[in-house]
């Protein structure tokens, strides 16, 4: 039996539509974050290469790349589900999905899977482009893939929550500017938290983004600020919490069905 049958076609169609939605505007949704990441790479590596040494045998530029990949992957996974939901709520076309027999779980899975796909495509693109500039090791591929999927799922679920909650674009932008951005920049994208004063090291350990980035970076270099298993546990727990919260919102029809 084919994987796509009458039961699964609904959720598959919604997933396909969500992927095509960003693919149609790939210049904005994929090319633009890749360019941004490369600009970061160019500037920071030029300014800091040779001045900052995080791990003994890892040049700063190489250290920076996994952080940049993860940062873009997370931001784009979030942007995909949240902007799609807010836009279809503002435009009113969300009704086309709400009128269908799709369950709240199928609705969630389609949006989540599309967010993961966008995150992974952006992350992979940056990785491939970065290989032209830097020699990057890849010690534990499994950890790299695991954290890439967990991270994009976590932010995809967070995007669903933000998208359902926000009634307007500026509310969604507030999530991006006041939650996602600070948590990303304070997570160790550009530095190791060991270089921070003790108080900031402690604060960083309450930031889930730190674990996603550190675990991801561990996959490349085989070393990180903490054990990847701890990161895996923390990120999985956060993911589970956000999945439960978004499912609870969708099940109750919060802001979608009156």
């Amino acid at each position: 039996m084919s994987l796509i049958n009458e039961q699964t076609r609904g959720v598959y169609t919604l997933f396909k539509k969500e992927v095509l939605r960003f693919w149609r505007v790939a210049f904005q949704t994929i090319a633009s974050p890749v360019i941004t990441a490369l600009l970061y790479l160019l500037i920071f590596s030029h300014v800091l290469e040779g001045r900052v040494q995080v791990y003994d045998d890892v040049p700063y530029t190489a250290f920076l790349i996994p952080g940049l990949i993860m940062m873009s992957l997370l931001q784009n996974a979030f942007a995909n589900s949240s902007s799609s939901l807010v836009q279809s709520k503002v435009m009113g076309n969300i009704i086309f999905v709400l009128l269908t027999p799709l369950t709240y779980l199928q609705f969630f899975l389609a949006f989540l899977a599309a967010a993961i796909v966008r995150g992974l495509i952006v992350g992979l693109s940056i990785y491939l482009v970065a290989l032209f500039f830097v020699d990057l090791p890849l010690v534990h591929v499994a950890w790299v893939i695991t954290f890439a999927i967990l991270g994009s799922a976590l932010l995809g679920a967070f995007g669903i929550i933000a998208g359902i909650w926000s009634d307007r674009f500026d509310q969604m932008a507030a999530f991006q500017n006041f939650v996602i951005m600070p948590l990303t920049f304070l997570s160790g994208v550009f530095y190791s938290i060991h270089s921070l004063p003790p108080i900031w090291q402690t604060i960083s350990k309450f930031n889930p983004f730190f674990y996603m980035i550190d675990g991801f970076r561990y996959g490349f270099f085989g070393k990180g600020d903490i054990s990847p298993w701890v990161s895996f546990f923390v990120v999985s727990t956060f993911l589970a919490l956000l999945v439960l919260l978004s499912l609870k919102m969708l099940k109750s029809g919060y802001k979608l069905r009156g």
């Binding site: 919604l14 505007v25 435009m91 076309n93 799709l102 069905r257 009156g258």
Partner: protein, 301 residues
């Protein structure tokens, strides 16, 4: 006995302290062309949104083709196609893509593509099938909305004010199309402001006012029950006698429209006019329309 297309039992809906629906009971049989009339705020759209699963009823049940809209919502939604009131569209895709997606959400695959092409053609959208939704004119968007509601071949179709702001030509085309669907066995529920529309299309009508159904009957019965005829008299000289004032509905210059409930009132009107020596210039007996029924039920207080 076949299951009714729509069965609504004691539906109430509260929005905070506002009671939008105050206990609606309504059954629509399969194959009917049913009209839901009422002024803005009467609760028509609230009722439709409950059927569509966009709102949950505070109390009561509703079923589509025997499937409860809350407990058996998947089967209920499979049986229902809704044309929303607002001109909503997805700006990322063209007409054919949107229709295929819509059918896909309902589990329909390639085997449904022929049907999608058929609706595109019947609604005059063939030239626009590959046009992005964003680039369609208002009228074309309206057609695409109807097409989207039909993409999964639902037996019951609800049209929420489909002809609001639509030009005469498109209105005629839509009427013809909807009539054809009804003839092919689809149950149609139409909400409208245009009484003329309900009169022309609907075999049965419910009139709503402030969350209640105030009249529910066949269109013919409603017409005969509430206002059989209008008598329009233009007087050359004299004035309308006092005895006829209670029947007066409208005055335009020397033309008086009298609402008659029975045909023998014509005789009465003429004899009263003779008594005051009023000279008649012109006289017409006009069939009442739903507007009269509507005004007598909804307009007053």
């Amino acid at each position: 006995m076949t299951v009714p297309a729509i069965k609504i039992e004691h539906i109430q809906k509260h929005f905070g302290s506002l009671q939008a629906l105050k206990g609606i009971d309504l059954t629509v049989q399969q194959g009917e062309f049913f009209g839901l009339l009422g002024p803005n705020g009467a609760g028509k759209s609230t009722l439709i949104n409950i059927l569509a699963g966009l709102l949950r009823p505070s109390t009561g049940n509703a079923a589509i083709m025997g499937h409860d809209v809350v407990t058996d919502y998947q089967a209920a939604r499979q049986a229902l196609g809704v044309v929303p009131q607002e001109l909503v569209f997805d700006p990322f895709f063209n007409v054919r893509e949107m229709l295929r997606f819509q059918a896909g959400y309902f589990g329909r695959g390639k085997e449904n593509d022929a049907w999608v092409d058929e609706i595109i053609e019947s609604l005059g959208l063939t030239d626009k099938a590959h046009t992005n939704m964003r680039r369609l004119s208002g009228g074309m968007k309206r057609r695409a909305l109807i097409a989207q509601a039909l993409a999964h071949r639902p037996p019951v179709i609800v049209l929420d004010e489909p002809t609001a702001g639509v030009d005469v030509e498109l209105r005629q085309l839509m009427w013809a199309f909807i009539k054809k669907l009804n003839k092919e066995g689809h149950t149609i529920i139409l909400t409208t402001h245009y009484l003329e529309e309900a009169e022309e299309l609907c075999s049965r009508v419910a009139m709503m006012k402030q969350g209640e159904i105030v009249a529910l009957d066949t269109t013919a019965n409603l017409l005969s029950k509430f206002a059989a005829k209008n008598l329009c008299i233009t007087l050359k000289s004299g004035d309308l006698p006092e005895s006829l004032r209670p029947l007066l509905k409208k005055v335009e210059g020397a033309t008086f429209s009298l609402a008659l409930t029975e045909l023998n009132q014509v005789e009465f009107a003429l004899s009263e006019l003779r008594k005051v020596n009023a000279e008649i210039d012109d006289m017409q007996l006009i069939e009442a329309d739903l507007e009269d029924v509507f005004l007598s039920l909804v307009g007053g207080a």
